[in-house]
Assembly symmetry: C2
């Protein structure tokens, strides 16, 4: 992967040397970061606000395939995936810690690329890398990111507080990350069979980017605040719409009606799913990795959001006894399932 | 490893099922834990105190060898290692997040054992498991722990604030974890050559435990507070005394004199090191994993700590130009080195 590039063996630097090398250009920009990397622990100050903490583990071969994932994108995504959890609490992310397990096949230049993607993501979202850990790994690349943020108590959105009659909303569009993955997998397999053939991803930028370089929806948190809307519950769409809706309903002890025709799909997602003989709705419901925000609002807030092109109202919360349902385009009611749900037409 | 025990395949539970299963018995005991596992992020409240965050990555084959590490001990150690960083800031740890990458060879019962060790450590140190992540791993066991704690601003001890004339102190004794590791490695190799021979660790409980089941020194943080001593700098001994002293001196821009005869060694560490033809002082200086606290105090605080059997004064901070030195038992001055330092007699 790095044959034509400079290769510096990490062991020349040692663990402390590597940490120094990676962190020397970090500029701390958040007033809450009192002390970043370089001591036993980071020191943060949230001045009486509530502190939010979330953590994700990304493992080579499970969460990413280095065959088609540029390291800079991977670093970017590793941060986004984690920040998304803070936004899903209606909070603002301010710091991350980054732990890396690096196999010896990784030269310093590869680690730099990965870290550069992380720094770009952090800069864009105004987040400080405040610490971490590095280690050699016998097993491939291991990335563990913990993100830290804050919120005023009255702003925090949990999963278990949706109320009957609330509207179910989702930001952006869904299914793109999953369809993008299918495309990348196909091109990888073609390449493995015949390395002379170059990947054909032309015109598919949007969905490839949805998979490789997702954007956490900090903007939605800020938008809702500016619209004066506090969601009654919120979660990010990491495992597929269906799974997330079920989380909110189960934890809130409620049911729901979800309307297939209301689920936002980008035309490219739709068309490419069809090329793969996939049901686009299934890609949205079960695909995952879209990192959009799914939230519920009071009906009285409907007027505030109804004209926003980036928010779709896709259903409503019902009493628990009514069950969790999805109503197909043809009007048929199906129970919502998290996994193995693959076609209801 | 689990041949004679019940085996439940983790895939039967799925990721959410596994998380529920592991976290269902968690009781949150810290007033700062507002919301633990079960949402996108944990919600914490430190009421204006400074927040401390530290993270460690533990990888199979690098940080632990499952051939001689019982999983319960490993879970216990994974927590201790991480809490130690919070204590090294002179803070009190209150929460951890735990991420696990589990290979398919791991049955549920193995994960339960690992997690039980973690819960025991957390209970003993009054720390809440407030969240985490689980994933399958293609590569062996991956453990990532992030610990969170707090301190009043004026109590926090950094690495870079040692002053000339300060006394260098260390808690407990050193080198035991390293010598314990040599013992375990030897018995592993004997076993691999002849599985009929049972490991001979008799009478070596203390040093084996120092390696497998270290205790982070929360008690020292509390002791120093009760004695009215605020260290001028502090760090935990994870990489060996020598490396930690160098961290403090380098970051504080100071030198030091360390006295070999003052370095605390347990008799069992001393004797066993000799059996392995190792210099016991080298084990203390370069061995690591003792998780004792190394700190500096003002000379005016000497009377407050001089009678404490659990604290040794091992040297003093000098001006930077004097260099970082260790004075041998025979009175010879040697420059202190972090790595490759192996005998100066």
């Amino acid at each position: 992967m790095f044959e034509n590039k400079e290769r510096t063996d990490i062991s020349k630097l040692g663990e402390f040397g590597l940490i120094d090398h990676l962190t020397k250009n970090i500029t701390l920009t958040n007033p809450s970061t009192i002390k970043g990397a370089g001591d036993d622990a980071a020191v943060l100050d949230f001045e009486g606000k509530k502190v939010l903490i979330s953590t994700d583990l990304l493992l080579e071969g499970i969460h990413f395939d280095l065959a088609y994932t540029p390291l800079k994108h991977l670093g970017y995504k590793a941060i986004q995936v984690n920040l998304s959890d803070i936004y899903a609490m209606n909070g603002i992310a301010t710091q991350v810690t980054v732990s890396l397990g690096l196999s010896s096949k990784f030269p310093l230049e590869a680690v730099e690329e990965l870290y550069e993607g992380m720094l770009i993501a952090c800069k864009k979202y105004n987040v400080d890398i405040a610490g971490g850990d590095t280690s050699s790994s016998k097993q491939g690349l291991v990335i563990s990111v913990t993100s830290i943020g804050y919120a005023d108590e009255q702003d925090i959105c949990y999963r278990n507080t949706a109320e009957e009659g609330d509207l179910i909303c989702v930001s952006g569009d869904l299914g793109g990350a999953y369809v993008g993955l299918q495309l990348l997998e196909r091109e990888k397999n073609i390449f493995l069979e015949n390395p002379q053939i170059q990947p054909d991803l032309e015109g598919k930028d949007y969905i490839v980017e949805r998979q490789l370089k997702p954007e956490a929806r900090r903007d939605i948190v800020l938008l809702l605040k500016s619209l004066g809307v506090k969601p009654t519950s919120m979660i990010d769409v990491s495992d597929g719409l269906s799974s997330e809706v079920i989380h909110i309903c189960t934890q809130s002890e409620k049911g729901c009606n979800l309307y297939e025709e209301k689920i936002p799909l980008d035309p490219m997602t739709y068309e490419t799913a069809r090329e793969f003989n996939l049901d686009p709705t299934v890609c949205a419901l079960s695909g995952g990795e879209d990192y959009e925000l799914l939230f519920t609002i009071r009906q009285s807030d409907y007027d505030k959001i109804k004209n926003d092109p980036d928010i779709s109202i896709i259903g409503n919360i019902t009493e628990k006894a009514a069950g969790m349902n999805i109503i197909s385009k043809s009007g048929i009611v199906h129970p919502l399932k998290a996994q193995g749900w693959n076609s209801f037409k």
